[in-house]
């Protein structure tokens, strides 16, 4: 694919342009340097922070929690979402309820998680799971609903079992929608875990970010945000990689 190189170059160009704009905005004082430290300062701070063993440990803690929550939420949510889409009865019962649950600001329930799990790994993973599962369910349901009937008829005529239909017809037709859902879910997951860390914690990068934010340590705050964004983007790229491998059949 010769286009890939051009696309990647274009992407890098855009990133550089954004960073340059950031640098110029703060250096020229168009925005207050205290309110928006320059890109170079932020990245220098990021370097400093990454030197610290404590920060690296926090990152590891957060990454572990995020992965654990994600690994739990995605299969769980996908199965429930699938059931909701597949079984009209279940759908009629659960869909509105799930939707309401989704529309409540989840942070209200943080104290309950402490009530059940105490403060620590389980509480943060639990809240990450809780923040993610609804979006996974809802996206899976959508994805399932976009499957073409004629393909289902073909599979049915060959006596495909439910499981076979799921894996051989639903999954491939839903893939683009599903992968997009995966990205969004990851973002919810990350936000959930970080919120839980900010709320009450002994470690984790979210905890650090909360402190930096409250002390108006903008350089550290931005560097922390960049760190979190980097984690998310890495994951994003991973999904994209899967995507390009799986949807080559599309024109």
């Amino acid at each position: 694919m010769p286009g890939t190189i051009a696309v990647n170059l274009a992407r890098i160009a855009i990133i550089i342009a954004v960073l340059a704009l950031w640098e110029v905005l703060s250096r020229t004082g168009i925005v207050n340097l205290r309110l928006l430290p320059s890109a170079s300062d932020t990245f220098a701070t990021l370097g400093d922070l990454l030197q610290r063993a404590a920060v690296r440990k926090d990152l590891m803690v957060t990454a572990t929690e995020v992965l654990a929550a994600f690994a739990l939420a995605v299969p769980f949510g996908a199965v429930i979402g699938f059931l909701v889409a597949e079984n009209r009865y279940f759908a009629d019962v659960a869909k509105p309820l799930l939707f309401f649950a989704f529309s409540i600001p989840k942070s209200i329930f943080l104290p309950m998680f402490i009530l059940v799990f105490g403060v620590g790994f389980a509480q943060k993973v639990g809240f990450g799971f809780f923040s993610t599962i609804f979006i996974v369910i809802m996206s899976t349901t959508t994805a399932v609903e976009s499957v073409k009937t004629e393909h289902l008829t073909v599979a049915r005529s060959y006596g495909a079992t439910r499981l076979q239909t799921a894996f051989r017809v639903y999954l491939p037709s839903m893939l683009p929608v599903l992968l997009e859902a995966l990205r969004i879910s990851m973002i919810f997951n990350l936000t959930g875990v970080i919120l839980a860390e900010m709320y009450a914690s002994r470690d984790g990068i979210g905890h650090q970010i909360a402190t930096w934010g409250e002390n108006f340590q903008m350089k550290q705050l931005l560097a922390g945000v960049v760190m979190v964004a980097a984690i998310a983007m890495t994951f994003n790229e991973l999904v994209r990689w899967v995507e390009t491998r799986c949807s080559h059949w599309r024109t």
């Binding site: 990133i15 009209r88 009530l115 809802m138 996206s139 009937t149 945000v225 998310a232 994951f235 994003n236």
Partner: protein, 269 residues
């Protein structure tokens, strides 16, 4: 079928069960009232300060409606454009979703510096928050469109905007609708959360204020209002879904009615 209770009945039973639990769990002391005040005390709290909540609801509602227009309108439009142009799609989509990965909540306080602490910053925040799922879902939905349909439209001289309005959006309707569902719900959450963080009006502000003084019945009275917003929004979406049902023929979502008809004739499994 007859042995089973209807889905709606079961749903109401579940809701009633949840309501009963809400009343009973705090009353029996299984959950401290600090974390979950009983429904009755929540209602009493809401009722005694109905004027205050009414005013807050008006503020929140205004912010939600405006953000909804930006998030959903913009999300569908941009998602449709980006999703239907292959080049911008590969270029922009990953960047957009990466951008979304930036935990905006953390930056919200900084955000207010530029947009002020009034409704504008809430609307901006909630719009961005709800915009992305709508856009991503729309763009992804568009990728699943039968290319033959686009070809046919092109052959009839449909301009890009005509293809968008007459082909791409209708064909992507099921996906777009669920994107809307997610996006709209996030707009509500986004407005409330940003009000909770920084504001002096709205339901989120009330929740946050009462929480600071550990007044949990008043907190949950606010949550209840948010829930009502969600119910209203859900009703709106359902209405659109019914209107759009006709468009969805050819996919699972659209043929649900057919399925009922044909499965009713099959022996119960």
């Amino acid at each position: 079928m007859s042995a089973r209770i209807s889905a709606t009945t079961l749903r109401y039973l579940i809701v009633i069960g949840l309501i009963a639990l809400w009343e009973l769990l705090p009353r029996t002391g299984l959950i401290p009232e600090l974390f979950l005040p009983s429904l009755s005390s929540t209602l009493v709290a809401g009722w005694t300060d109905a004027a205050e909540y009414g005013h807050a609801l008006a503020v929140t509602l205004y912010e939600v409606v405006v953000s909804m227009a930006f998030a959903c309108g913009g999300g569908i439009l941009l998602g449709a454009i980006v999703g239907s142009l292959p080049r911008p799609r590969v270029l922009i989509m990953p960047m957009v979703s990466s951008l979304y990965a930036v935990p905006l909540v953390i930056l919200y306080p900084v955000f207010t510096v530029w947009l002020g602490i009034g409704s504008e910053s809430k609307i901006a925040f909630a719009s961005i928050y709800g915009f992305l799922p709508t856009m991503l879902a729309t763009a992804a939905g568009i990728q699943t469109i039968d290319p033959q349909l686009l070809l046919a439209a092109r052959s009839m001289g449909a301009t890009l905007s005509q293809r968008l309005v007459h082909v791409i959006i209708p064909a992507a309707i099921p996906t777009v609708l669920s994107g809307l569902r997610v996006g709209g719900a996030l707009v509500i959450v986004g407005v409330v959360v940003s009000e909770m963080l920084i504001s002096s009006a709205g339901i989120g502000y009330l929740i946050s204020r009462y929480r600071t003084i550990l007044d949990s019945p008043h907190v949950f009275a606010g949550v209840l209002l948010v829930l009502f917003l969600a119910i209203a929004f859900n009703a709106a979406i359902r209405w659109i879904e019914r209107k759009a049902a006709i468009w969805q023929t050819g996919t699972r979502a659209g043929q649900a009615n057919d399925e009922i008809a044909s499965s009713a004739m099959q022996p119960a499994t």
